[in-house]
């Protein structure tokens, strides 16, 4: 495939180009024009659609192509996550449009029908459109189970009143609609043949510090909310940084490593404002409001449109640190995480796969592959428990006399990662200290030795990326937050790297921390994937509710453009869903994310223990 087209068709739709997670700034036209079409993600989709003859050159198409000045920022952002270089697709888009104008000059002016006129009256001329250059960027996602669906209208409301008026209008004309955050659920939830309501203009953030609350509009991303909270000395429970907070609550109730102490679902908001599906505004605290606290197994449709939510602020103690504890088996890792959760040690807890240190930390696929062996085979790190906590938590863990990777050692391993390829001194350690796994981590001066051996530096790590990007990445890796386990986890900017090699489909269940049951289900996920020749891996486990339950993610991966892989994935997902359903029925304690979708506002107790 032509390279720019290949790049465009491999956009993962994780919306990371919509947040300024590297401090490089985002694509300038995005925050001004808000439609995803004016962000790199949308431009890539548009270019692919034009190149494949799916849409004509329209007025909006010219505007979208023109508003890219080839600044190159999206290369930094997208390369960081997926190693793609979108500017190649941007150049191709601009060339395509210029070429078209030169050859035929025909630019399609889309018809404005009566409904669109009414919609424009509600939101303003620019914020409702039928232009196919925009509509096509809302028409698909890389989900293997969703059919592309072109909407007739894309609408960007700014206020609750506008949302209410739109819903009433659409209902009047019997037009189906989908509500879209940033589309990063990538499950085909945010497509509709009628209208798509993109909530991205609802960007208000109002702090009420006296009451430890922040009211966030439906268009605020997790990253932006966390950043504002952090600037004021607080933290919120947020997950994927590009997810809109209200969308994420609605969709999954927000689970993150911090859910170990901050909880999930209704644990994290105090109140929320909605517009019902008939267009009536309501607040959750209204006496006769629909009972969204009650968990109703999801029928796949949203119960109402959330326009804002008042989110809890959590204190930041200033002495927080991250610490990683390696384990050779899942059993040991689970026992330890449960021990921490039941004793309320640590704010964030995650049982991660051994690949965490390679896949998530390495800036390129190549380096991730090369050092995976060092961590897993040579050092025997199959699982890692990450704990983030204050000084008392960290001290308690240190007193347990387990081998640990502290913040300082983590930094050395991270910035010295390229030298790990040839670190035979490390593999020798495993060979020679067989008796007590990872006991080398307890050596006095091990961090000093690692620093000596690995010569960690931003320069060294930056040398791994494309030559033109090295100077940017060198400065980036020099920023303290880029090696800070607390920052990296509260902003979660590296977890989307799991989709770097192939698009990821996450299978999520909630269950007791029962090692045998977890091992059995883990084995089943693997068996099904292997039967269908699908790349797969353990994702993570986070204890919930003092260790009474946990959330368990297992990941399947596919080439989103390969019809065979899509077919295999469809079969595997079908079987996995049935397998989960079997455990749901058999155990009474296993719950599936499939039951939760669109029910995320429920009380977690209603969901987990009903």
């Amino acid at each position: 495939m032509h390279e720019p087209l290949n790049t465009a068709k491999n956009c993962r739709h994780y919306a990371m180009c919509k947040i300024d997670f590297l401090g490089s700034g985002v694509c300038a036209s995005g925050p001004e024009k808000h439609y995803v079409s004016f962000y790199p993600q949308g431009r890539m989709d548009l270019y692919a659609a034009l190149a494949e003859g799916k849409v004509p050159v329209t007025e909006k198409c010219l505007e979208i192509a023109d508003t890219c000045d080839l600044c190159g920022k999206c290369d930094y952002q997208c390369y960081f996550v997926t190693e793609l270089r979108p500017t190649k697709a941007m150049e191709a888009l601009k060339d395509y449009v210029a070429d078209h104008l030169e050859k035929s000059g025909e630019v399609v002016k889309e018809e404005v029908d009566e409904v669109l006129k009414e919609l424009k009256k509600i939101v303003g001329d620019f914020w409702a459109t039928s232009d196919r250059a925009i509509a096509v960027t809302y028409s698909h996602d890389p989900s293997p189970v969703a059919e592309p669906t072109m909407p007739d209208y894309v609408i960007m409301p700014e206020t609750r009143e506008e949302v209410s008026a739109i819903v009433k209008l659409l209902n009047l004309h019997d037009i189906p609609f989908a509500v879209r955050g940033n589309g990063s659920s990538v499950m085909g939830f945010v497509m509709s043949s009628g209208a798509v309501l993109d909530m991205n203009r609802m960007k208000t953030i109002e702090f009420d510090e006296k009451n430890w609350l922040v009211k966030t509009g439906a268009g605020v991303t997790a990253f932006d909310l966390q950043k504002s909270a952090q600037e004021r000395g607080y933290r919120v429970n947020a997950a994927e940084p590009s997810a809109l907070v209200c969308a994420n609550i609605m969709c999954s109730g927000i689970f993150s490593l911090f859910s170990a102490s901050y909880g999930t679902a209704a644990d994290n908001y105090i109140d929320a404002e909605f517009v019902s599906k008939d267009g009536t505004p309501f607040k959750l605290s209204d006496k006769d409001a629909p009972n969204l606290f009650a968990f109703n197994p999801s029928d796949g449709t949203i119960p109402a449109i959330c326009t804002s939510a008042s989110i809890r602020l959590h204190p930041v103690t200033g002495d927080e640190e991250g610490i990683l504890i390696p384990f050779a088996t899942m059993d040991e890792a689970l026992d330890f995480s449960k021990e921490c959760a039941t004793h309320r040690i640590g704010m964030a807890i995650g049982v991660l796969g051994g690949e965490y240190l390679s896949t998530f930390m390495a800036p390129t696929k190549k380096l991730a592959w090369e050092i995976k062996n060092t961590f897993q085979k040579e050092l025997g790190i199959e699982y890692l428990v990450l704990v983030i906590g204050g000084k008392y938590d960290i001290k308690t863990i240190q007193n347990m006399e387990l081998p640990t990777i502290d913040q300082e050692l983590f930094k050395a391993l991270y910035l010295g990662m390229p030298s790990l390829r040839s670190a035979n001194w490390l593999s020798l350690l495993k060979e020679m200290s067989d008796d007590e796994p990872f006991s080398y981590l307890k050596l006095n001066g091990f961090t000093d030795l690692s620093e000596t051996a690995l010569s960690p530096s931003p320069e060294q790590l930056a040398k791994e990326v494309d030559p033109e990007l090295q100077s940017f990445f060198k400065k980036l890796f020099d920023k303290p937050e880029m090696t800070d386990l607390v920052w990296l986890n509260m902003f979660r900017i590296i977890s989307s790297r799991m989709g770097r090699e192939k698009h990821v489909v996450a299978l999520i269940i909630y269950l007791p921390i029962d090692n045998a049951l977890i091992a059995e289900i883990d084995g089943e996920f693997r068996r099904i994937a292997e039967k269908h020749q699908i790349k797969n891996d353990y994702g993570f486990i986070t204890p919930l509710d003092n260790g009474k339950r946990c959330v368990f993610e297992y990941d399947y991966y596919l080439d989103q453009n390969d019809p065979d892989e899509i077919a295999h994935m469809q079969q595997a997902l079908g079987e996995a869903a049935m397998m989960i359903e079997g455990y749901v029925k058999k155990t009474g304690t296993v719950k599936s994310i499939f039951q939760l979708f669109t029910q995320g506002f429920c009380r977690k107790e209603n969901f987990l223990y009903s």
Partner: protein, 393 residues
């Protein structure tokens, strides 16, 4: 008995260091060998044996070497009845050289399963096959920590350095009892620490003698890298520097609780001595294949200085090692050699009466600078075994 009147020897452990050398020597001497072993994920037993023979510069001899995949943890060695019967009929003698050689307490179960529990099936085979002789390759350290004079007798202590020694001692006792009860002629051959070929330096295993050197080299390379690529910032903090004569000055104290040495024998000597014993065995006898003069670690450190171009390594004898502040290099070195430390200051004396008689007083080559350099050069060339792994060994 094989048609050509040479006995047929069933040999376990032929994919290991000692066993492979025994196999090569037995074949050289015209014996018929049946190698009993297992495949790996990458290769069948016969492929593994062929790779090993290639390393010896030998072809698989037609008609004199058979390989049979067995599992000693199962009845009849995991073979079906007809195969097992055939093996019993074909075997005249057995050398049981396979052993789990891990020192790790964490692997206790596995070590005992391989070294002790599996003996039930192996000894049953010895009885079923009515073997002329059963030779067990044990270790001199099966005698345990029972004083400094070690007799060529069954162990009578429960004090051992590690699970490996303990399992080998238990195996000796089980073998002696079973063989006596079943009138199976047997010997127990106990080598001390075996290193490469004293004449060529070639080896298939790089532990024991090699570990301190390999560890020092890894540590040296860490600091050389720092000096070369980082201006030696970290090295300076610990007084590590490049001397004008091109030597790295690496202050590293190896603290040993008492004086003593390593009892080393080269593989060529082990093979010669073991073969002579096998050809001239005394039933129920135990043979120490050992060195009358152990090598002191100080000597090895001296040999190593010009070899590695490293100065500053010093041996200190003190029974309170905790009194010493350790720099990171020392901490790492201590960790590397922890499992082998007890063998580095050993002052046990191994009685060799039986061995001297059976081998006409054949003695191992005295360990010296030349042998050291030869062996270490080969080890480095083989990347401490990594290269051999790539050759399928």
């Amino acid at each position: 008995m094989h048609p050509h009147n040479t006995p047929t020897i069933a040999l376990t452990g032929a994919t290991g260091f000692l066993g492979s050398h025994l196999m090569a020597a037995l074949l050289e001497k015209g014996y018929h060998v049946i190698a009993l072993g297992r495949s790996t994920d990458d290769a069948t037993l016969s492929q593994r044996i062929a790779n090993i023979l290639k390393w010896f510069g030998k072809e698989v001899p037609t008609g004199r070497l058979d390989t049979i995949e067995i599992n000693f943890s199962q009845e009849a060695l995991g073979l079906d009845r007809p195969k097992y019967k055939e093996l019993c009929q074909a075997s005249d003698q057995m050398i049981h050289c396979a052993s789990d050689t891990s020192f790790s307490e964490r692997r206790r179960q596995q070590v005992f399963d391989s070294n002790v529990h599996s003996l039930n099936h192996i000894l049953k085979f010895a009885a079923d096959a009515r073997l002329q002789f059963f030779h067990y390759i044990s270790t001199a350290y099966a005698c345990g920590m029972n004083g400094t004079a070690c007799k060529e007798q069954l162990p009578n202590t429960t004090d051992f350095v590690n699970v490996y020694e303990e399992s080998k001692a238990q195996a000796e006792k089980n073998i002696a009892t079973f063989c006596e009860e079943n009138a199976i002629p047997h010997t127990i051959i106990r080598p001390t620490i075996v290193y490469g070929d004293s004449r060529t330096g070639r080896s298939l295993k790089f532990n024991a003698l090699y570990y301190p050197i390999r560890s020092l080299m890894a540590i040296r390379d860490i600091y050389l890298n720092d000096i070369k690529n980082n201006g030696g910032k970290k090295s300076q903090m610990h007084g590590i520097k490049m001397d004008e004569d091109g030597y790295l000055f690496l202050p590293l104290k190896i603290v040993l609780p008492k004086s003593g040495g390593l009892n080393l024998i080269p593989i060529d000597y082990f093979v010669n001595a073991a073969l002579q014993i096998i050809q001239n065995p005394g039933t129920g006898e135990i043979y120490h294949i050992s060195n009358k003069t152990p090598v002191k670690l100080d000597e090895i450190v001296n040999y190593n200085e010009p070899f590695m171009k490293v100065k500053g390594v010093e041996i200190v004898y003190d029974d309170s090692p905790e009194n010493y502040d350790r720099n990171p290099a020392e901490e790492l070195f201590d960790r590397y050699i922890k499992a082998y430390l007890p063998y580095m200051h050993d002052n046990r004396v191994f009685d060799r009466t039986n061995t001297d008689r059976a081998t006409s007083d054949l003695q191992p080559a005295a360990f010296n600078h030349d042998i050291f350099v030869r062996c270490m050069n080969y080890a480095v060339k083989m990347e401490w075994g990594e290269k051999l792994k790539r050759l399928g060994i």
